[in-house]
Subunit: 111 residues, 2 copies
């Protein structure tokens, strides 16, 4: 009867954390930039949106249109924010990993 716990995919987790970190300035292009820096990889904009789309479908993030009149031209932004379910998924994902890293000692900090 009880639902199985939900976990985030690798990239889903990264993107979700990015949205969280950007706070009120979380929109596609900005998220892409942050994620690219954090991963030290050249992430495509398509990868970001596809993931954001899935996260939204699952109720982990919400989105809305930004102001219709930006300063320097260009299309209006679509902002994202992490929902409670997203925080929970992040928590579950982290908990499972923690159970496995507990007591482990490698050359680097495993959280």
């Amino acid at each position: 009867m009880s639902e199985q716990k939900d976990y985030l995919g690798h990239f889903e987790e990264i993107v979700l954390l990015g949205v969280l970190k950007l706070g009120s300035d979380a929109y596609g292009a900005k998220i892409r930039q942050l994620v690219s820096e954090a991963t030290e990889r050249d992430i495509s904009i398509g990868a970001i949106y596809a993931t954001l789309e899935r996260l939204e479908r699952k109720g982990y993030v919400g989105s809305w249109q930004g102001e219709a009149t930006p300063e320097r031209g260009g299309r209006a932004k679509r902002y994202f924010k992490v929902e409670g379910a997203g925080v929970l998924a992040l928590s579950n994902t982290n908990a499972a990993r923690s159970r496995l890293t507990a007591g482990l000692d490698l050359g680097f900090n495993l959280g």
Copy 2:
């Protein structure tokens, strides 16, 4: 020319950590048990092996046949161990995540 960093998928990371944690007792069935407990999900044996197979193809784990004559009957085990490249992938994966969680404060410990 420099290669892009490699990251682990969600399940790959979980399985790799399981192998690490089990040490000299890391074989399919045992890994499955540990991972099922850690994730609180009923993981199939096929999921474990398929992932282990992929990790091996990438050089993240190595495997070899165990003793041909186990105590209580049953087929010989196939043992796994994490290779240096696997530890590095684990480290990269963790580093990217850490950059995003730094400074973040949620209700739970984010590593």
